[in-house]
Symmetry: C2
Subunit: 461 residues, 2 copies
């Protein structure tokens, strides 16, 4: 489970949800087994009491049906919570956040503009929402430059496959649009939020940068920077931070991020540090003093609050609003209700896992959409909508036809859970091994990627 805004675990609604589900199961079992009236009544009483607690905590009745739309999804940079095993209701989130759906038309337009087949993250709705992507394409079609900005909060050495999603997609964007990219490593953020020293946070930056570089970014078009380091190397970064800081009040960040008077002033002003790379003159070594180069930010949708604030501020300081492409969350092995946690090694497949660890984790921990028995599986089929192994395949199995065949077979009962898991293991083992091999090769390149310097970038505007 993700941490709350102040680092405290906010598991209670999910805990309650799970308790109710378990208690409901117990009641059904007792009734089926025709247990004593006393025993059954007592279990029912407990169930009703749990449901009342749930209603008190959530403001609405408990709904057991997975098919029911979850009206209580909660998403911000520190907390992602849903009661649905299918995960967050992303269509609702688009309405809630006021962003736009990436529809077939937009995907076709990207295909026309780039002359490339859209990435399977686009084809499969993994990048599902955007802000002003049409504006980026307008500019691109008029030969106006833009740049990509994404980032990572280096909270530990260990990255899992979910962390790669924005980078895999950003690498594709860099390739097909042939544009420069800046990658923010927010080690200052992690220092402020976690029990870390500055040196630890910076060392995680370096380790994580290796995994990012291993995704295959173009060294002539990519600048990776540590906030802690680059702030002291750039003539433009701090100036933009101060500009944004002048135009955002505590009331605003309180409303957007839920900060309180007890929060340290580092947290309170951090959103401006994440905002500043959205403006091209934060990187004078790349864009000189140009303030009008459009920025496109691919990121998971929980980062959107930072960029809503940024977009709100941009016109007031004379800068263009950054455009965004939002991804869904990568599910934990245990189910799609939450984002994963780097502190729980069993919650995902890590980039350091051995082939054996991958096999064990998938077999042991990947939440199954299958039935309770093989017989039921054969008869009724599995549920791809909640099966984590199938979800992982939508991220990592590029072959559309094969994925569709697996969906059909698993849903019909022709393919069983064990076979589905084996397919996933067969996909993930080489993928991770190849990543590890590439990571070893790029270790010596970190310094160059992190040196502020000119990138191969055309200024003909």
């Amino acid at each position: 489970m993700a941490d709350g805004p102040n680092g405290e675990p906010c598991a209670s609604p999910l805990d309650l949800f799970n308790s109710i589900a378990a208690q409901g199961e117990l009641v059904r079992t007792l009734k089926a087994e025709k247990a004593s009236k006393d025993e059954t009544d007592s279990a029912v009483k407990m169930l009703l009491s749990l449901k009342m607690s749930y209603k008190a905590a959530m403001g609405e009745d408990y709904k057991a049906d997975y098919a029911t739309e979850a009206s209580e999804d909660f998403v911000d940079p520190w907390t992602v919570w849903t009661s649905s095993a299918k995960g967050i209701d992303y269509d609702k989130l688009i309405v809630q956040f006021g962003s736009s759906k990436i529809d077939k038309e937009l995907i076709n337009r990207i295909e026309r503009a780039t002359g490339q087949r859209p990435h399977h993250f686009l084809r499969r709705g993994i990048f599902f929402s955007h802000r002003d992507m049409n504006q980026v394409l307008d500019a691109y079609e008029n030969k106006k430059p833009f740049y990509l900005y994404t980032g990572r909060g280096p909270s530990s050495e260990a990255m899992h496959v979910g962390h790669l999603i924005p980078f895999i997609f950003t690498k594709w964007l860099q390739d097909v649009f042939n544009v420069p990219l800046v990658v923010q490593m927010s080690d200052d953020e992690k220092y402020l939020w976690k029990d870390l020293s500055l040196d630890q946070a910076y060392s995680y930056t370096i380790e994580n940068a290796k995994d990012i570089i291993a995704c295959g970014f173009d060294i002539n078009k990519t600048f990776i920077f540590s906030d802690l380091e680059y702030m002291g190397m750039s003539s433009g970064f701090y100036k933009n931070v101060v500009k944004i800081q002048k135009h955002v009040t505590f009331n605003q960040v309180k409303g957007i991020f839920g900060f309180t008077d007890s929060d340290c002033i580092g947290k309170i002003s951090f959103p401006t540090i994440q905002a500043a790379p959205s403006f091209s003159n934060s990187f004078p070594q790349i864009f000189r003093d140009k303030t009008d180069i459009q920025c496109l930010i691919p990121c998971a949708i929980d980062q959107d609050p930072y960029f809503r604030m940024t977009r709100d501020t941009a016109p007031r300081i004379g800068y263009p609003k950054p455009a965004l492409l939002h991804s869904t969350f990568f599910p934990a092995l245990q189910g799609a209700q939450t984002k994963m946690s780097t502190s729980d090694p069993n919650s995902s497949i890590f980039l350091t896992d051995t082939a054996k660890q991958i096999k064990t984790k998938v077999n042991k921990h990947a939440f199954s959409g299958g039935r309770d028995t093989v017989e039921e599986d054969r008869q009724f089929g599995g549920n791809c909508d909640v099966d984590v192994s199938f979800m992982y395949l939508t991220f990592f199995l590029e072959d559309d036809d094969r994925l569709e065949q697996i969906r059909k077979d698993y849903s019909s009962g022709a393919m069983l859970t064990g076979e589905l898991k084996k397919t996933l293991i067969d996909v993930m083992q080489p993928l991770i091994a190849e990543h590890q091999a590439r990571r070893k090769e790029v270790t010596g390149m970190v310094k160059e990627f992190m040196t502020p310097q000119q990138l191969s970038f055309c200024f003909d505007t």
Copy 2:
């Protein structure tokens, strides 16, 4: 009058005070002239009403007597207010702020340690309060290094003589202790608080730096920096800012500085920018990675809240607390009740004033402690405690004997207001002319003073 914390003028208590004084004067005149009872009664009624408003605003009765101790002095970085024409009650401020008085014993110790006669700012109580100065002297006597830190908020091109006080004294400290000095130009602060662009704020930094350099600082031992510029040139500054930001909450800065939820987050986090130069590793080019070099900060006492916060935070991030030397405020020509304002050209003598302007200003605007007529002056003498010309002489006339003679003559009536003002004009005209000449000479040196580089500094610790 100084601005309130949010930039609004907070003149009301002083306005009320002045209205009461004027109304009291009117009542006394009416009574002396035996005016009609109606007229007198109406004036008394008005006076009582004004006194009630004053009590409502200030929570205590109006006291006309200048000799009465002002119990309502208010001092913070944006507001300095007192009801006394003698100015702030500095002894009370020492108790209120919890600092220590610079007493004869400490002054003698400084003389012994440096082998130099103490500066007249020390001898005359202009630098009157300190924190941990004995610790600095302990270190100095044990051949341990320390450094000086002072600063200026460049809110306009124009500086007045009052702005020079900390710099004149700091130059003396640099000379007698032979130590390095860092000077912060908080152009980021001025950008945040005023209606200025970043470029304007930086240009004021450059102009003000010329006046500071003209005070005679040693180019081999002095580093002057713009926050806006140096933040992007230092590998140590931002790291210390973030460290402090992690250890100070919004509640704390709200209590110390009176910030509100409607303030921009730039203001809220700025105190950490002023705090960071108190720690030696903010200047790796001078002190390398040394974190334990004692800092001594000469400044006007209204800056103390920043350094109370800094001293509170220092031990929690493993740094030594900076020591401080506090000065009184330089009075406005109109009287010692307030600090001066750069926006009112008649409130002080400016560093750009011509000899003629100085003469006119002193004659026309300098608040006099003299009586209403020459005859009364001769009979009763003038009041040096409220006479601004005399106050200015305590700052700028170095000859103790001559100053004492002037005090005696003016107090006894042997010297009249006009003669006192002429003495001040004769002191200030050459002083300002010489400053202007030196300023011209140093214009070419600004870049070197502002380049981060090694200073002549001994590391034998």
